[in-house]
Symmetry: C2
Subunit: 289 residues, 2 copies
Amino acid sequence: MDDRALLTSVRAVIGEADILDDCAVLPCGDRCLVLTTDMLHATTDFPEDMTDWQRGWMAAAVTLSDVASMGAEPVALLLAAGLDDPARLEEITKGAHDCCTRHGGRLVGGDIDHHDELTLVSTALGQVEPAHLVRRQGARPGDLVCVTGTPGQAMAGLEGWTVHRLALLEPQPRVAAGRALGRAGASAMMDLSDGLALSLYDLAAVNRCGFRLRHEALPRPAGVPEPEATAFALYGGGDFELLFCLPPDRLPVTGVDCTVIGEVTGEDGRVLLDGVPVERRGYEHRWSG
Amino acid sequence: MDDRALLTSVRAVIGEADILDDCAVLPCGDRCLVLTTDMLHATTDFPEDMTDWQRGWMAAAVTLSDVASMGAEPVALLLAAGLDDPARLEEITKGAHDCCTRHGGRLVGGDIDHHDELTLVSTALGQVEPAHLVRRQGARPGDLVCVTGTPGQAMAGLEGWTVHRLALLEPQPRVAAGRALGRAGASAMMDLSDGLALSLYDLAAVNRCGFRLRHEALPRPAGVPEPEATAFALYGGGDFELLFCLPPDRLPVTGVDCTVIGEVTGEDGRVLLDGVPVERRGYEHRWSG
């Protein structure tokens, strides 16, 4: 059973509409609030050579990235820390604080607890003008599909390519890019945390569309030989880059460093790279149960 | 090192003002938003005979109680669940959902993860008119000090008094009472999750005031003999009742079932019960480090 299967049982309780996007969306006066939470813990999410500052940074980055993917501006961050050693709190807090200082939002509180396994849960609140809110739903055939940065870098870092290690350890949430893309009229957006291939299939399912990608256009981690480079770019997780669609006449978007990797098609559920179906796999938690 | 000592190191990073209250407070148009997160996990927070529905309920209740203590109305709840067995998710989600249905707010999303130890982190967002926001700071000498419900019930339930077991397993966040008290002009408020004595010392420190309590007035768990009943009421944790101060002319508050237990004094840091100092102890996480 994977996360997506599990979500089916949750849908029955909290409703379909609320779990389509990277954040929940709540009206608030003339603004929309967006709200998201992510749990990270030692065995699954933190490479052993990370510093505690980097762990705190990453905990903040993952939810700021969710806020960015809605076209929203981060407002506040909470950090709940389950600590095996209380002495770790200060560096973890500094890391989360510094990520907010760099990318947006303010660390305003949290909770602390003793835990056998270091567990960090961050929650981010953002806001956005309704006209600039971007959801996963909204892509149309003929739109371009694009990514910021280079997908697969975090995976390359994990697999021993030291030049890409920092992309894994200190992900940069694309807050400024997300805001600019919301203002520029991106039609659909999500972050790449589960990998490009899986994210494309998620977008295809929500939009009942397909994607045709060009291999030549796909950014791949520098210095990694093929076929690994392409595999990392398609199936590697942990990149907190943005995947988005938008009408061709909206490009370029000032201040956004992105690459057009293909286009949206009407072929429901088909994700093709140079005409060949992309495997539907990526980073998912797997359960023994 | 206890939680309060740990907070000192966090203050240096995120600032004093943000961690005085049960929630962070954020302006949003003509409203204030309040935001809070709490981590609960198997070994520390969940009695073994709890059902998963009750675990989900409690996870929601603890943050809804924080929202209530600010005089605010819950808007949304997120639940991050670290699960040892994915089959537990459905009942946990239902419990959290049902607590929201009963007391306010809507479960709008969350995160799921595999975790060796069941770990639930809920985050609640609330809103309140600025005039009705209640903080810990604001109590004045001459105000009355009051509690909702009966402090010590959860402790009695934990210690084997089966009649009080449900107070431990299914705490009821005092959302409606908190709203009414905010509108009625309560001068200071917090919830009782750490126990009455410790909460009074916290309020005393923030307000540079003291408290004189009358033993006769103190509600104690029914059926528990003395001196346990008084000890449970003063030092037991896990009650999600409200502790608040307000000027005498504001009582009674329609719809709020509460007890006046004493009054606010100008005796900085002194908490007296029938003239005798109350011990400064209660429910705190203790660290071996």
